[in-house]
């Protein structure tokens, strides 16, 4: 018995002998940040492209190095052809690329920055601060589940956004809806904090996002806004408040003391700025390969001569075929519901240090100015021609005039035009946000991580009538001042293995990576990467991180970037 007891004590001594290291690192960290492993970046903004739009003309480079194998598909285009289209029959596309650093990126990045953002420069300047990870396999299909898994890869644990919000001493966790989906079916609904920090979800239809968020802190006309010292003293002294409530009260009072009523003006200035940028971007008719030439809709003459050889599917828009004399005119009153408010509020919250975690469901183009078109019911898909009843009909009563990011039934023209105009607007707003953060608060952009992602990528259809869910591929783009140059990692297959169609080309399906012991990327790797960079525990600790902070610089842990030939 005695011997057993002695053994037990010895075992204990041996076990605990290793513990001072962890103990000291844990507790010395509270004395000085010098002893902490690293605190990570401080601000996280998630831009969620809910609906999963195509990314191949934006941040998904399918052939980042010229020598890489690549299998083309007619839908995998990045630009309208560089010529004048006299008639709709002449419309054609190109797969133009632009060299950024050592990588070939889609043509969009060569477009100029809007003059309201910067007097000169190209969109590609944003990529100087970007890391792109492609080919992340989601494993299962479905918008809701994959969108929720963006922040909650393990639904039994607190969400990534919850963990980041918990880390902070700042005040608010803010989510903004914008997509066509209910917030319960996107990452907003998957938010869960360990410490119980609530999320303020701002509805995309809210007239004023500022008021919606800060309503609890603005009490116009109240004589007691500035709580007096005597009341405060009693609240502290007599334990009418518990300690954490007192802390939160102090934070709330700090927000009240900001005098938000006065800051409202600042918010509206920011809002006006973004509204101007967005309007100017969507009205720009000089964007090469996008809006610098007339894009004629389907003409009546072509219907009569219709034969199986014509590309009517180019003009397909879910329930009708576009017949506008110039399709660019539909952009005039295009609405990106809430986008300006989303950026204005994000900028305001970051600059005022009111939130360290903001997640945004981005809006899709709505209120497109379609006037007339041809009904789908008058089109014979098998013969690829229109029947005799086909005639030009007004569109207003047929269906909503919006372009869905989940573009199953959108032909090549709307697919290309509306996603790219959205990306153009969005990138300009991002560049404006970067500019403001850099100029108004030193180091803030360096301490921030912007994460652009969606449920999954898209697989192009062979018949040019849209794209399907490419749930075995997903692109994650990270933007931060801590990133010093563009880096792209991740392997994809040249020919899709598990596709809807036999010949969908190289669209971004994730392929095995040698540096990960032959495993393909999964979202757990992305979640751990974000956790590591933000200095919070990972919800998926078994999947290794792909990113690290090295001497304050955000770099990738792996370098593999291949198109794997599987034919």
């Amino acid at each position: 018995m005695k011997r057993n007891r002695r053994d037990f004590l010895k075992l204990n001594a041996a076990f605990f002998a290793f513990n001072p290291v962890s103990f000291l690192s844990k507790h010395l960290c509270d004395f000085s940040s010098m002893f902490c492993p690293h605190d990570g970046l401080s601000h996280y903004v998630l831009f969620n492209l809910a609906g999963a739009p195509q990314r191949w003309s934006y941040d998904l480079s399918l052939q980042p190095l010229a020598e890489m194998p690549y299998s083309p598909n007619e839908m995998l285009v990045t630009s309208f052809a560089d010529k004048t289209f006299q008639s709709s029959k002449e419309i054609s596309f190109e797969n133009k690329k632009v060299k950024v650093d050592k990588y070939l990126m889609p043509h969009l990045w060569s477009l100029p920055i809007n003059e309201n953002v910067l007097p000169e420069g190209k969109l590609s300047s944003l990529l100087d601060n970007a890391i792109i990870i492609r080919g992340c396999r989601r494993g299962i299909d479905g918008h809701a589940i994959n969108n929720r898994r963006i922040v909650a890869p393990d639904p039994t644990k607190p969400s990534l956004t919850g963990l980041i919000a918990d880390k902070s001493d700042s005040n608010l966790m803010v989510g903004m809806t914008g997509s066509e989906y209910s917030p319960t079916t996107t990452q907003l609904g998957a938010y869960r904090s360990q410490r119980g920090n609530p999320i303020s979800i701002i509805n995309k239809h809210a007239y004023n996002y500022f008021h919606e968020l800060f309503d609890n802190f603005i009490n116009e006309g109240s004589s007691a806004q500035a709580q007096d010292e005597i009341t405060e003293a009693i609240l502290k002294k007599q334990e009418l408040m518990n300690p954490s409530a007192l802390k939160n009260r102090t934070k709330a009072k700090k927000i009240i003391a900001l005098n938000l009523n006065k800051l409202k003006g600042e918010y509206f200035q920011r809002l006006e700025k973004y509204q101007k940028i967005i309007k100017s971007c969507q009205m720009d008719r000089t964007l090469e390969g996008l809006t610098n030439q007339r894009i004629p809709g389907l003409e009546r003459e072509r219907l009569k001569k219709g034969s199986g050889q014509e590309n009517f599917s180019y003009f397909f828009m879910k329930y009708f075929f576009i017949a506008e004399p110039d399709i660019r005119d539909t952009l005039e009153n295009m609405q990106l519901l809430g986008l300006a408010q989303q950026f204005a509020l994000t900028e305001f919250l970051l600059i005022q240090n009111l939130s360290n975690c903001i997640s945004i469901d981005l809006p899709q183009p709505e209120n497109l100015g379609f006037t007339e078109g041809y009904r789908l019911s008058h089109f014979n898909t098998k013969k690829n021609n229109f029947n005799k009843q086909a005639k030009l009909e007004p569109i207003h009563y047929w269906h909503e005039k919006k372009f869905r990011f989940d573009s199953h039934n959108h032909g090549l023209i709307p697919h290309h035009l509306y996603t790219n105009i959205f990306y153009y607007v969005f990138t300009n707003c991002l560049i404006e946000l970067r500019k403001t953060l850099e100029s108004e608060s030193p180091d803030l952009f360096k301490r921030s991580l912007f994460h652009i992602t969606s449920e999954f990528d898209r697989e192009p259809r062979y018949d040019l009538m849209g794209s399907e869910h490419g749930y075995n591929g997903q692109t994650n783009t990270f933007i931060s001042g801590s990133i010093k140059k563009l880096n792209i990692i991740g392997n994809i297959y040249v020919k899709s293995k598990s596709s809807f169609f036999p010949n969908s080309g190289t669209w971004g399906e994730g392929a095995p990576i040698k540096e990960l012991n032959g495993r393909s990327l999964v979202y757990g790797n992305i979640a751990t990467s974000v956790s590591e960079v933000m200095g919070v525990p990972s919800p998926t600790p078994k999947d290794p991180s792909l990113l690290k902070l090295k001497d304050g610089e955000l770099v990738t842990k792996i370098t593999e970037l291949k198109n794997i030939n599987n034919s």
């Binding site: 004590l9 979800i201 609890n216």
Partner: protein, 197 residues
């Protein structure tokens, strides 16, 4: 042997020290949900307070907690048609988010902000203030912190001991002339002690 024992005890002691890591902080007390708060405050401030409390507390399910119950909703025929009935439990707005809200949500700056604003609005509403004073049987014009303060204290803290009130009173007496019914009510309303379950 003695040395080993000392060493073991020392390390056992070290590991017993709680960590201050921010991510480990989870609150162990429970705060009342929006239904509890709404009912309590409406009881104190009367019918006139309903719009303020509904706006400031009851509709803010994401801050105060308590999901709604879609099954407790029913339609009641009225002269103008049907109206949704079902009391506090029924789903009022933002249906999906409201029924998925957690049962209990701990303290947060949002909650503090909402309480400060709502309590200020309540004491600024003359009918609400009057109702509370009437309920506590406090004379507005002859307010005395020792007697009147205690009655107002009992509105929010009916079960606290006499000793606790005496302690509180000592602090009140440091600035005796400062306190009027409005300021006293506001203080008790904002305090979180009565919200703790």
């Amino acid at each position: 042997m003695k040395k080993t024992k000392t060493l073991v005890l020392f390390f056992l002691f070290l590991n017993g020290v709680p960590s201050n890591s921010k991510n480990d902080q989870v609150e162990h007390f429970r705060l009342g949900d929006r239904i509890y708060l709404t009912r309590t405050l409406k009881g104190i401030f009367g019918k006139a307070s309903e719009p303020i409390i509904n706006q400031g507390i009851f509709n803010q399910f994401h801050i105060f907690g308590a999901p709604c119950d879609p099954y407790s909703q029913h339609l009641k025929p009225t002269e103008k048609g049907y109206s949704a009935e079902g009391g506090y439990q029924r789903c009022h707005n933002k249906f999906f988010l409201e029924y998925r809200t957690p049962i209990l949500i701990p303290s947060s700056p949002l909650r503090s902000g909402a309480m400060i604003k709502t309590c200020e609005q309540l004491v600024d509403c003359s009918d609400c203030l009057e109702h509370a004073l009437k309920k506590a049987q406090v004379e507005k014009n002859a307010f005395n912190i020792s007697k009147g303060g205690k009655k107002l204290y009992r509105l929010f803290y009916p079960f606290r001991s006499e000793e606790e009130w005496e302690n509180l009173l000592r602090s009140f007496k440091e600035n005796q002339n400062y306190w009027d019914p409005k300021k006293t009510l506001r203080l008790f309303c904002i305090s979180e002690g009565w919200q703790t379950l």
